[in-house]
Amino acid sequence: MTEAVEPDFDVIVIGAGIAGCVTAYQLAQAGHSVVLIERGETPGSKNLSGGVLYCRSMMEVFPDLLTEAPVERKITRNYIQFLNGNSAIGIDYQDARLADPTNAVTVLRAKFDAWLAEKCEEAGVFLMPGVRVDSLIKEGDQFVGVQAGEDALRARVIVAADGVNSFIAQAAGLRKKEPTNHLAVGVKSVVTLGKEEIEKRFHCSADEGVAYAIVGDCTEGVGGGAFLYTNVDSVSLGVVLRLDDLIAKGKRATDVFDHFLEHPFIAPLIKDGELAEYGCHLVAEGGLAMMGELAANGVVIVGDAAGLTLNTGLTVRGMDLAVGSAVAAAKGIDAALKSGDVSKQGLAGYRTALFASFAGKDMETYAKAPAFLERPRMYKEYGELLGNILYNAFNHDLTPRKHLVAVAKDSLKKSRVKMKDLASDGLAGVRAL
């Protein structure tokens, strides 16, 4: 038997996003030596989200999150909108209870993740920015380190927190190329309007804000949706387009985004705004079906890299699940390091902890959501049907009025939506969501 090379660290974490930072932070706090490797020139510089963080899981890790971290606004108003070409129907849900305790905040990841990485350094994590991990080092059946250019680093456990593309998870044999119906492209602009203008335009108080979730003509009928979130002095707005449907409909992502920005009901919201930044992100939408093995010998995957994202129709979640997976991974890795068994079996505590937590349970609860959201009528016909019913109710064109049920029946008759579609989609929706 050959003498094993002494590892440089207990744990190598690849990627200083939310999942990576929280895993690194918790393991350092548990007394392990941790290096956090980030390919961006500074932590956060490669990271982008739509921007709503459901923050309760993060507040369990950082109790002073809301006072210390660079969060933008507390989301106390959720606006759900069916957008058609010439009509829009919205549910405007505002609730003081969402502020206390704070349920969700907007964040801009370049700033937020930089703060997270600082917290890691304070906890004793060794941060290496500007370094791209090229490959994993394997000895026998065990992954023992990473290669970055000429440099090799060794650790007992490697955490792949390198995002949705996770080349490391693929190298470890934990992920394969995803089918395009599990993936969407998010295209986003951050538009500066000024703090006072935000509060005036979106009817919000000094530190509170709104999250719009939009479906319909915002994507020109492509499966997906649009969003608009208020930051302190800017808005983040964008579209999320399911790749299989975008390609099937022969549309260009940037044309769909422009159509959204120029929509007569959206354009006034960003009128006279200045573009601060233009970005995009690949979004995993497969839900539980996308999640596979979470550990190999000496390696675990967390956050986006593990496919931990959820679109429930009303809420789009990734960052809170990243925290959930990080907390579970830290627990599993801590136990593995203490027992001395860092094989796949030794790291199995991660999976157990994850599915005992809200993050794993929510992935299970919404397992049928992705298939439901692939049903096509959500993205065009239902919004138009609703718009037509309301139009016929409000449009007093001197024809004799009809009862609302009759108006609805007439509109349904003229729509491409059939009664059996409504019944089938309704039932599937109830089961999935």
């Binding site: 989200s49 370049a110 370094v131 390609i247 970005g279």
Partner: protein
């Protein structure tokens, strides 16, 4: 907000450009025969890819926002795409 072209939008971003090597390689024959070329043009938010007069796909790698969507829609072997070297490429200030 006034309408801006994609290059104008990208101009508001910060990039550290790699002058020496591209992190993207299109294999032209496969890109054409598999339809990959058309798909990566359609999905890329940064307009990195364009079809030239001779039918080949050109690559403006310095504009890349590093989302990986092109790789997700590419047929096997038609596109090589990896992250730029450490510290190089897009550098978000908002994110």
């Amino acid at each position: 907000m006034k309408k801006m072209s994609i290059p104008e939008r990208l101009a508001s971003n910060r990039y550290v450009t790699d002058e020496e090597e591209s992190h993207i390689v299109v294999h032209q024959e496969l890109a054409k025969s598999t339809g990959t070329g058309k798909r990566i043009i359609a999905v890329c938010p940064a307009h990195v890819y364009a079809e030239e007069a001779d039918g080949t796909i050109s690559v403006e790698y310095a504009a890349c926002l590093e989302c990986g969507t092109c790789l997700a829609v590419a047929s096997p072997g038609a596109l090589e795409w990896h992250y730029p070297r450490g510290g190089i490429g897009i550098s978000f200030r908002e994110g």
